[in-house]
């Protein structure tokens, strides 16, 4: 590693290592510049957006050579962000190591392709400035998230992508009917602005958990820098573990954030609704990049818990891995099952995304289950992340092209699109094959890596979870066949015939839209081929390449690793599993959809067991409605009840009583004053006083009368009348009195001598 930056000014640091800084700063500047470019015309603005996106590709790519040289800079600190008295300061910095370099290149590159695609897909939209703003700001925030060297900065990027996601899901905030999602009626439908809010709030729930965990970590470790956290782990981790249960809570709370962001159970319900945004947004944020942030963060923090489990032997540290493995496997299964029955094309892909991220989480989870599986698990998750980003982005963009062409979100309104969109069809089929894990495409190798990681971990739990993952793989192939069939094969639906009748012929997407897809699909194939070649020539295997990089990185971090040579039977078992599952899923898919030997709907609706299962799956396991019932309507109803009872009946009554009784008391006083006090004191007493004084001081009074009584009152009356003229009512008296009192007060201290001071 290159020496850490010492005694350099921030500018010098950026000059020396421009890549990791400019990668996220430039798109953010670009985002802010969008309103400016709008003044030069819409076309220039769109080109500018693409150009800004390209700057981040360049910046990210400038880091790639470090991957090959193995001489990456590591933690580059720029300047102090917050100084803590008696603690190490929080610094602004970037952490450049293989993990961040790989992910940041994936993000920057895919973002750029989608930017290009969007110029056509969003063409003609009147509010594109807002779109580009959020889009570029998203790219910047995402790269900030990935590159930051401490948790706080990561959280800033984390929330930044959340805001952009909110802004882009709710992009069509006017909630025009055709933008609604869900259904078809009678099922509930949701407007985009609702979906955006839902996404932000649900991921926000995860965020508060992770923040809670960060505070615990900060309190014990005194730093939030990743490198320092790992270096000092042997110091602070046992301290947390010394409190029974605390380390487990910290681990689980930490996972809350990634679970929310990556849409894992139980915080997965926002992602299907997030499809309300423009499809290019779904491709970028809700498939390729943002939802992977959780995976990244779990991977980033995993060395700490690995050390805790396998070096310090703290049993609670392993909770981190066990929980995320179980969550991953369960989500993988659940989401795949929902994808089986969904009728919206984008939602199928969304469930599929959730399910695939489940695999990545599973791989990360099993990596901590046994000492030797760590590198394998980490590699599998990063590999699957990359490969999934490529093929899922392609799938979404393809789906976008289809939706763009025939204006419907429902698969039952599609069908036969192969005829109209042959290029999109071919690209979609290849990407889908990769998703389903058909060799030798990238998806096969990366999913295989996940299975291998489970096998390497070789604990009862990891093998059970592998079985869950395997079943999900079968379902993956099945729903892949289903949506390809429903969209592209078979007969045209009524909707398309209707369109044709009106003279709208669906046609192939323009070049500027299919080329980015083709590039992504090309990469899927290239990675897949390298996977195949790499099996014979290990130096070319992408998986081994990543493994080697991560191994190096962990080694530099001082993590003791125990890697076993991969036994051939293990590989064979993983392949066997994949093949078996492809066979099961494929046969069922072939029966139901390709050969049409069995009519799927007749089969399901006629079966007393399958029908309820179908309903159960279609209603998303009833989780969504349950959440709404409890946390949305329940909470609002509860607040209304409390408002109507405690607030209005108790507190309001108290204050009404207090103010009422004060006013009543005031009235009593008033009566007392006018009826008793005034006659007695003001009239009676004054009379007595005046009469007495007149008798006593008759002569003196004359003198006073002349000098003071006539002079001063005349002045006062004059002043008083003047004030009275200014404004009638109580207010002017108040002002004048207060001003007088305060001027006197201030003059009082002003006139007396000053001492001390200054």
């Amino acid at each position: 590693m290159i020496d850490p930056v010492a005694a350099m000014t921030p500018l010098e640091v950026i000059m020396k290592y421009p890549g990791p800084w400019l990668a996220w700063i430039l798109p953010m500047i670009g985002a802010l510049s969008m309103p400016l470019f709008e003044r030069f015309g819409n076309k220039i603005r769109d080109y500018a957006a693409v150009a800004w996106g390209f700057t981040s590709v360049l910046s990210a790519a400038s880091m790639v050579p470090w991957l090959f040289s193995g001489n990456y800079p590591g933690d580059i600190k720029l300047t102090t962000w917050i100084t803590f008295p008696g603690g190490s300061p929080l610094e602004v910095g970037v952490l450049v190591d293989p993990l961040s370099i790989i992910i940041c290149n994936v993000v920057a590159f895919i973002s750029f392709l989608i930017l290009v695609y969007s110029t056509e897909y969003m063409h003609g939209d009147k509010h594109l400035t807002r779109f580009w703003f959020f889009f570029l700001f998203f790219v910047g925030s995402m790269l900030l998230l990935v590159l930051s060297d401490n948790l706080v900065q990561t959280m800033v990027g984390w929330e930044g992508v959340g805001i952009c996601s909110y802004g882009l899901i709710g992009y069509y905030y006017r909630d025009a009917k055709e933008r609604w999602l869900g259904g078809p009626p009678p099922h509930k439908m949701f407007p985009p602005s609702h979906a955006g809010m839902k996404a932000f709030v649900v991921t926000g729930i995860g965020d508060v958990f992770i923040l809670g965990s960060i505070f615990v970590i900060f309190n014990f470790a005194g730093t939030l820098n990743y490198v320092e956290l790992i270096e000092t782990a042997h110091h602070w981790l046992p301290q947390i573990a010394a409190v029974p249960g605390l380390l487990a809570i910290t681990a689980i709370f930490f996972l809350g954030g990634p679970i929310g962001k990556s849409a894992q159970f139980p915080l997965h319900e926002w992602l299907p609704e997030a499809m309300a945004g423009p499809t290019s947004v779904s491709a970028l944020i809700h498939a390729a990049t943002m939802v992977k942030a959780g995976v990244y963060l779990v991977a980033r923090m995993s060395p700490i818990f690995y050390l805790g489990t396998w070096e310090m032997f703290l049993p609670e540290a392993q909770v981190f891995f066990i929980v995320i493995a179980c969550v991953g496997a369960f989500t993988c299964f659940m989401a795949a099952s929902q994808a089986l029955v969904s009728v919206e094309l984008k939602k199928i892909l969304a469930y599929s995304t959730v399910s695939q991220i489940g695999y990545m989480m599973l791989a990360l989870g099993v990596s901590g289950m046994s000492e030797g599986a760590y590198v394998a698990g980490l590699t599998a998750s990063v590999f699957h992340l990359t490969s999934h980003a490529l093929f899922k982005a392609a799938l979404f963009l393809g789906a976008g092209s289809v939706i763009h062409a025939i204006h419907t979100i429902y698969t039952f309104n599609m069908g036969g699109m192969k005829k109209y969109m042959p290029i999109t069809f071919i690209l979609m089929v290849i990407a889908t094959a990769s998703l389903a894990g058909i060799p030798p495409l990238s998806g096969f190798w990366s999913k295989d890596a996940v299975f291998i990681a489970c096998l390497v971990a070789n604990t009862p739990l990891s093998l059970t979870l592998l079985a869950v993952g395997a079943v999900s793989a079968a379902m993956t192939f099945f729903y892949s066949i289903r949506y390809i069939k429903l969209t592209f094969l078979g007969h045209e639906s009524k909707h398309i015939e209707e369109m044709e009748k009106h003279g709208h012929h669906p046609h192939e997407a323009p070049k500027i839209m299919w080329v980015p897809i083709a590039i992504l699909v090309g990469l899927v194939c290239v990675v897949g081929l390298f996977g195949l070649v790499g099996f014979f020539v290990p130096s070319l295997s992408p998986e081994l390449f990543i493994e080697h990089l991560l191994h190096d990185m962990l080694h530099h971090m001082g993590i003791p690793l125990h890697t076993h040579h991969l036994e051939f039977p293990t590989i064979l078992t993983a392949w066997g599993t994949s093949a078996a599952m492809l066979l099961i899923g494929g046969i069922l898919g072939w029966l139901f959809y390709l050969s049409r030997k069995v009519d799927s709907w007749a089969f399901v609706s006629g079966n007393p067991v399958l029908k309820p299962i179908h309903t159960f799956l279609f209603n998303r396991w009833y989780m969504n409605s349950a959440y709404y019932k409890v946390f949305v309507y329940g909470l609002i109803d509860f607040s209304k009840v409390v408002f109507a009872t405690l607030e209005s009946m108790v507190f309001d009554k108290i204050t009404a009583f207090v103010s009422g009784s004060t006013i009543a008391f005031g009235k009593v006083l008033h009566v007392f004053e006018t009826k008793v006090y005034d006659p007695a004191i003001n009239v009676g007493l004054v009379n007595v006083f005046v009469e007495g004084s007149r008798l006593l001081y008759n002569d003196l009074e004359f003198l006073i009368d002349v000098s003071l009584n006539r002079g001063v009152p005349a002045t006062m009356t004059g002043l008083h009348n003047r004030v009275k003229k200014l404004q009638s009512g109580v207010l002017s008296y108040n002002i004048i009195y207060m001003v007088i009192i305060f001027v006197v007060l201030i003059l009082g201290f002003g006139l007396t001598q000053m001492y001390g001071g200054i």
Partner: protein, 510 residues
């Protein structure tokens, strides 16, 4: 390099300007609002001139002979704790003064329409004169060094604000003004009881001498009495009921000052008068107060969900945010207390933006009912952006400074919880989970007001004039800049609080 007498001038300039503004207002009418901004600009510059002296825990003070026989001096002090409080108050007063020029015109037109009587110039004159006095009250409370002086300014804050509600408010304004006056006054009287009892023990009215109370058998009671006085101001759960009324019915620019700037001074005063000088005594309250704070933040948030009137909604949200500040104070840890003051600044700017937006909606749309609004983003893009930024600030979403202030509050809450009991840890965890409520009610409200289809009758709504949006944009800019560069605040706050708390602990252990 401070200008001589700068702190005295901070109070004197607006104070002397108040009658001037009043008399000018008689001649000029509504234009006098612009004159009223001048003294506030001067004070802001004076405060900024102290920046270098106060950085890193420094302090600057002035003291004048006041009543030497009673041992009273008129002292003014600016330090790391008060510096950003002063800036916040001053910037808000200045911005809202500009905002008022348009808003009050609208308000008076509305009133004219209602009563048929043309607005006299004096109405503008007394509004801005009172406004300046109100500003003096707030600035004076923050600057003061002895308890009698503190009490005077504390009441000076109350009287003009009462008069403003009473004369320019909405609805049942006289009754509500009275209610506001009573509640705060009762709080102030309890505070006075605490102050007088402390004099009985220490023989001094200096705030610095308050630490002499520690060790006395009634120290806990004194601290509690003073705190209750401030908690009434902060409207914590149980004594919060006046707030939604007062902030709901006050003229909107005044709500924008009342809600964040003034009630939060309670938190400042609690820090200055109790937490710092009587730290060991205060620590014993930590657990109970944490619970109370949690209750306040949750309850305020829940009540906000149930509101339809946008100003009452914001008022309840203030109750909830005071809960956060209270949580920071309750942690009795340096980060928590710093976070509370930091959150005062956040909430100051954030809530001021939101009340400003509410005022814009009332002026441009003509309704306060959230139900009647919708889809306004098309008609008022700037207001939408402002509203989002305001909500992001109070919900603690980066890059606004809310993220940083909540970070400190919870960091304090966790650090005291982890060194305390498991109960406290559970409280802290529940509290942080409750922050989702803020995000929830914020975005839900944004959606109901600005998104969705635009109702037919709102098709003609226009964006607010720049005099209303620009001040709010400046507040938003403050929020974002500090959010990105929190050192601007923390370099003043953290060293001061940390030193002060350690000094008290060390001094008392000897």
């Amino acid at each position: 390099m401070a200008i001589p007498y700068s702190l005295a001038l901070v109070l004197l300039v607006p104070l002397v300007s108040a009658p001037v503004v009043y008399y000018l207002g008689k001649q000029m009418g509504k234009k006098v609002g612009w004159v009223a901004t001048l003294p506030l600009i001067v004070t802001l510059l004076l405060i900024f001139s102290l920046a270098a002296d106060l950085n890193g825990g420094g302090s600057y003070s002035e003291s004048y002979s006041w009543a030497p026989d009673a041992g009273l001096t008129f002292g003014l002090l600016a330090d790391g704790l008060s510096f950003w409080m002063l800036i916040t108050i001053n910037v808000l007063c200045l911005g809202i003064c500009v905002y008022s020029t348009t808003y009050m015109e609208h308000r008076f037109e509305e009133e004219e329409h209602h009563t048929g009587v043309p607005t006299p110039n004096s109405a503008y004159a007394s509004y801005y004169a009172l406004y300046l006095l109100y500003a003096v009250g707030m600035l004076g409370t923050v600057l003061t060094t002895n308890l009698i002086q503190f009490y005077l300014f504390y009441e000076l804050m109350l009287v003009p604000s009462w008069a403003l509600i009473n004369n320019y408010g909405y609805g049942d304004r006289e009754r509500i003004g009275m209610m506001y006056f009573m509640w705060t006054h009762v709080g102030a009287v309890i505070l006075l009881a605490g102050i007088l009892s402390s004099y009985w023990i220490t023989g001094s009215f200096e705030i610095a001498a308050l630490s002499g109370v520690v060790g006395s058998p009634i120290a806990g009671w004194i601290a509690f009495a003073i705190l209750i006085g401030f908690f009434t101001k902060m409207a914590v759960f149980g004594i919060h009921i006046w707030l939604p009324y007062a902030h709901g019915e006050a003229p909107t620019p005044i709500s924008a000052l009342l809600s964040p700037a003034m009630i939060g001074i309670g938190a400042y005063a609690a820090t200055r008068l109790v937490i710092i000088p009587m730290f060991p005594v205060y620590q014993t309250f930590s657990l109970v107060f944490s619970l109370w704070a949690l209750l306040t933040m949750t309850y305020g948030g829940l009540m906000a969900l149930a509101q339809d009137d946008i100003k009452r909604f914001l008022a309840y949200s203030s109750v909830s945010q005071m809960g956060y500040i209270f949580l920071g104070l309750a942690s009795a840890a340096e980060y928590g207390v710093s976070g509370a003051i930091f959150h005062y600044i956040t909430h100051g700017f954030g809530k001021c933006i939101l009340f400003g937006v509410a005022g814009i909606l009332m002026a441009q749309v003509g309704t306060r009912s959230i139900k009647e609004m919708g889809g306004l983003a098309d008609r008022m893009p700037w207001t939408t952006v402002l509203c989002l930024l305001g909500f992001f600030s109070i919900a603690g979403v980066p890059p606004t400074m809310g993220f940083m202030s909540k970070f400190f509050i919870f960091s304090g809450a966790f650090s005291s919880a982890l060194s305390g009991s498991p109960t406290q840890l559970i409280l802290a965890l529940v509290a942080i989970i409750m922050t989702v409520l803020t995000v929830g009610y914020s975005l839900w409200t944004v959606r109901r007001i600005f998104f969705g289809p635009l109702p037919e009758k709102l098709k003609e709504v226009k964006e607010a004039p720049w005099t209303m949006t620009v001040p709010l944009l400046v507040f938003a800019l403050f929020s974002v800049i500090i959010g990105i560069y929190p050192k601007l605040v923390t370099d003043y706050l953290l060293p001061f609080i940390s030193e002060a708390l350690h000094a008290t602990t060390a001094a008392l252990s000897h």
